[in-house]
């Protein structure tokens, strides 16, 4: 059974209907990547799965549990962790306070030592205010703080946006490490080359729906279609 399954998910921002029946499923330990142009509902899909966007209908099941009625502050407890596009690093908290903020929800998360091994920069700057970090470091911090909690599934929104190639490569390495540890990842990404190195499977999103779904091995024969939909 899939770890995360979403069926016929609709969501609204106020009166504006933005998700029109999203369906996707993610196996345990799999990394999937949602591709799509700006404004097609990729971020909204993550926010709706996480329960941040509450005006929604359809079905979200995680680890067998119906998530539609779970209040936002219990979503994390079920094992879902969200790393937002804007990273959400707190300016009034130090790096270490940011890191320690999300409560541990399950065993199997990384220890502080493991995290500092994976992200040595964060240890060096543990006492600085969170937002004094560079963009790349903030992204690492946003990911690291979820890894500590023992979340089983990471919802990762455009982790490479606005970052230098060397940092993007580093984030790719981190995702490969996470995969080796059995982490399930739902990745939203515009950087197609980056995504093709870490994802097992792709979903293509257009106008609030999934329009295609194929494994990374079928990438070559889908390039023409991707080019049309993504306009790259």
């Amino acid at each position: 059974m899939a770890l995360l399954s979403v069926a016929n998910l609709h969501a609204w921002y106020g009166e504006s209907h933005v998700l029109h029946g999203v369906t996707l499923s993610v196996e345990e330990g799999e990394t999937i990547c949602i591709l799509g142009r700006n404004g097609m509902g990729k971020t909204t899909t993550l926010r709706t799965i996480m329960g941040i966007l509450r005006k929604r209908s359809g079905e979200i099941r995680f680890a067998g549990q119906d998530m539609m009625t779970v209040p936002l502050h219990r979503t994390a407890k079920a094992g879902l962790g969200f790393v937002p596009e804007e990273r959400g690093i707190f300016a009034t908290l130090t790096v270490e306070e940011n890191l320690m903020l999300p409560p541990v929800v399950a065993k199997g998360g990384m220890t502080l030592n493991e995290i500092y091994q994976l992200f040595p920069n964060l240890e060096e700057r543990r006492s600085s205010p969170g937002t004094k970090l560079s963009g790349g470091e903030q992204q690492m911090l946003a990911m690291a703080r979820i890894l500590r909690t023992g979340a089983r599934c990471l919802l990762l929104d455009e982790p490479t946006e606005g970052l230098a190639p060397v940092i993007i490569q580093r984030i790719g390495e981190v995702l490969v490490t996470l995969k080796a540890r059995g982490m399930t990842v739902v990745l939203v990404e515009q950087n197609f080359r980056f995504a093709s190195k870490v994802a097992d499977r792709f979903y293509l999103m257009d106008h609030g729906q999934m329009v295609a779904d194929f494994p990374v091995t079928d990438l070559p024969q889908n390039m023409a279609m991707l080019n049309t939909v993504l306009g790259v």
Partner: protein
């Protein structure tokens, strides 16, 4: 007689002390307002009424049950805090989705209701509350006599202000509060029960007002309107310090209390308005307040 700037030192020190005592109440009350505003974005107009409740609870504990000052210093803030938490849970929390103006109107209505209720039962005239035996009398500082209770007010308020500041800046709970002030939705998505945190915060703010009320009971008369006289000044303190700034509220509270005291010495006619003059100047030069971040 020793003179400074043509003013007898006794008069100067006396007014400085009065300023420091007033400042102690300003600091405690504006701290509570700042904590509430920071997280809930609610301008708590009921703060003065909660301060008045603290004093009345202490008075009633004494007259009805014989419980004295020291236990009241703990029990009264607890009761006022629980009352605040109840109000937040059952009423105020329903208004967060609406414009902030509704929170302000609600707390204003609550203040009027509370003051009216206490006036109905106790009348408008003040009732005395004797300071505890251990804190009566005065010590001779050489240049003036310091009433012990007044010294205690300054020490106790400073200790509570520092304690609350440490709670917010140095503890895990404080890091939740600071983070939720910045981005409550994200903090909630981490698995932290933010609605409960809001209830706790409003309760904490109300309890601080209640604590100030007990401290004030032996200094001022206990009366239903004692809070509304003070609260306008406290709002000015919060604005000068910077809305939502914890440290700003504390430091500005003491500073403006002292400024008011000094004005009484040098230009008594202006002492009632000096805080508002300072507020106007600060708003012109630094609209975000002395300690506020520019919005």
């Amino acid at each position: 007689m020793t003179m400074i700037f043509g003013i007898p030192i006794q008069a100067l020190m006396g007014q400085l002390l009065v300023g420091l005592i007033n400042g102690s109440f300003y600091a405690l009350l504006s701290l509570g307002l700042a904590v509430i505003f920071g997280l809930l974005r609610v301008i708590n107009f009921a703060h003065g009424a909660q301060y008045m409740m603290g004093a009345f609870v202490a008075l009633l504990l004494l007259t009805q049950t014989g419980i004295g000052y020291w236990p009241a210093l703990l029990i009264a803030p607890l009761i006022v805090g629980l009352f605040g938490a109840l109000i937040e849970r059952t009423m105020l929390s329903r208004l967060y989705k609406l414009d902030h103006l509704y929170g302000l109107l609600f707390t204003f209505g609550l203040a009027l209701t509370l003051e009216g209720t206490f006036r109905w039962f106790f009348g408008s005239s003040g009732q005395p509350y004797a300071p505890p035996a251990a804190l009566t009398g005065a010590v001779n500082l050489g240049f003036m006599f310091l009433p012990i209770y007044r010294g205690w007010v300054v020490v106790a308020s400073l200790a509570v202000c520092i304690g609350v500041w440490l709670l917010i800046e140095k503890t895990k709970l404080g890091s939740y509060l600071r983070a939720a002030t910045e981005n409550p939705t994200l903090v909630q998505s981490f698995g932290i029960n933010v609605p409960l945190l809001l209830t706790f915060t409003y309760g904490l703010g109300a309890a601080l007002a209640g604590f100030a009320g007990v401290l004030a009971a032996p200094v001022y008369q206990v009366s239903p309107l004692m809070g509304s006289n003070l609260i306008i000044v406290v709002f000015a303190v919060v604005v000068v310090g910077g809305m939502g700034s914890i440290l700003g509220a504390i430091v500005t509270g003491y500073m403006l209390g002292i400024a008011e005291g000094l004005t009484k010495v040098f230009y008594p006619e202006a002492s009632n308005i000096v805080i508002f003059v300072i507020m106007a100047i600060v708003l012109i030069l630094r609209p975000a307040g002395l300690f506020g971040k520019d919005a």
